[in-house]
Symmetry: C2
Subunit: 346 residues, 2 copies
Amino acid sequence: MDGDEERAQTRRPRAAVMADVGRRAGVSHQTVSRVINGSPHVRPETRERVIAAMRELGYRPNSVARALVTGRSNTLGVVSFDTTLYGPASTLFGIERAAHEAGYFIVVASLKALDRSSVMDAVERLRRHGVDGILVIAPQVDAVDALLHAPGDIPLVAVEAGPPEAVPVVSVDQTAGAISATRHLLDLGHKTVWHVAGPADFLEAQRRLEGWRMTLAAAGVEQPEPLVGDWSARAGYDLGRRLSRDGAVTAVFVANDQMALGVLRAMHEAGRQIPGEVSVVGFDDIPEAPYFTPPLTTVRQDFDELGSRSLRLLVRMVAVGQRQPAAPEVQPELIVRASTTVPPAR
Amino acid sequence: MDGDEERAQTRRPRAAVMADVGRRAGVSHQTVSRVINGSPHVRPETRERVIAAMRELGYRPNSVARALVTGRSNTLGVVSFDTTLYGPASTLFGIERAAHEAGYFIVVASLKALDRSSVMDAVERLRRHGVDGILVIAPQVDAVDALLHAPGDIPLVAVEAGPPEAVPVVSVDQTAGAISATRHLLDLGHKTVWHVAGPADFLEAQRRLEGWRMTLAAAGVEQPEPLVGDWSARAGYDLGRRLSRDGAVTAVFVANDQMALGVLRAMHEAGRQIPGEVSVVGFDDIPEAPYFTPPLTTVRQDFDELGSRSLRLLVRMVAVGQRQPAAPEVQPELIVRASTTVPPAR
DNA sequence: GCTCGGTTGGTGAGCGCTAACATCGGGCTC
DNA sequence: GAGCCCGATGTTAGCGCTCACCAACCGAGC
């Protein structure tokens, strides 16, 4: 190791390049390139020599140089909103793993706001950086709008929401999830179901609201006015207090688990038993949901699958150089725990 | 010009390059380069012409080519473990924002396992990709070990834990956090404090355990045997059940909020009042903590600050080309909520 | 008139790699 | 054994950019 450092300082200041390896192995740099890229036209014996030379010199291929000449950087960009939240974070994780498997690198651009210009700016930055394709985790209406005006000369896939006319979209079937949650409550015997919705400009929130509404309409029951929150436990708490004051409320479908936690807390403070007096269903199935008080019935979204499915679609688009049909929607699953039961006897 | 376009029959299939811009503006490609890099030796009038030409042609600088010649990619790598967890996800978010501000891109490599070879492999992949420096979010002992043998020819910073002899480390003062949590409980009048620790191979877990132990020792009180979990709510629940059966337990310091949630749940099921009979303190202050039943007293870690501080350190190292002194530890803060109170009267 | 120094611009050489073609031996057909 | 093809390797030309120089050009000073 000592001699190693010395060489680093004095003798060979630069790292070895293909020509160095070739010289050492007694071949041309091109043969080295062939070995690296697994060309079949190299004699096994030569290949061995080259590999030995690479090892001896500690050769490391320069992917920047390769990217310049091939026009492919093997890098994909991901534009996302607040990667601190469980959903985006998990999706990103799934994307990353799938990218690794496919031999791609992921460069992220997390946004604080998901407005139109932020999204366009992020897409532009990533393009300049030379990514081969872009994944936009864009659940908001404004982002969708930005994507409508996205440049057409780079493969782009929207995750969870987007303008299907403009870009392929991969998403979870939110409506189906909302239907199963609402149906579950109705099936238990509740007269109707209240709804704590997500922000109106989130497509997921819109589709969950829609699913809820459709189910109530199909059952021919009264539709209470939905309450709108911002996904946070705090909002759930504030809205939950409102609901707790209304004795008619026996079942609530909350648009995500964090808000559901807030609702649970508010009900508890108001002295309303869950599920005895009020049943609550969430959405997402975050890892903590089974340990809420009481354990939360919720709709599980497979974010990992969502991420890897969208990544694979993007990789396919990069490979064939043109738009591909969108992947089928990922199906959510109702997980019944202890926060729901039959309505209290009147 | 026309003959030139023959190849480009279908209306310029290739994107414009510097030479194209130069031709259009009536200058050489070098002058275009000067404009882009803000050289002072360009007449304002010329600059205008070049900028206009760039806009007209929709010119986009090719950063791959630039990276090849400068040897700088303006990209930093982040190796992290399970970016689904709140801590790593928030840290990554802080890193990303700081990188954006500093003009860098972030490429992530999330690992499923944080063993030695995974870490080394990820570092190697990032190097090959041409990153200018690497950030390792490495709270585990094995990762630290890997870093001891990390290559010395690329700037590297360990976040939250690492071998200080080998690489600069930026971290939160875990010991101080554990001390303040334990002291808080002791100050309330509890005879002693139980501890639900994180996995033994996590440095954070070790330091929290140490802080707890030191505080008890300093107070001269009995040290109960710590229980060891895996950070999950499930583990907290299982361990919480054990604690709930021991009537002597009146105060518990749990190594993170998820496990604390499990403890809360287990106590609730066992009919033990919180905080009436048992006080519980967590660690992290996840956004949901204020809405637990009851709202959780916990130790807040400023992950955002942790991330940006480490990123800035790395950027400095890349800039000056040599190791820099580690940044000061980020101080955690005790947040008192409703899960702690004076011990029950005997 | 000349030199001189500063400003503004151009020229050529690479960064490390891959793609396309050229070359050079056999082993095969007939 | 002439002709041919094919497998293994070398040669050359860039990819788009920056860096180190060099060439005009300008007004100032003698």
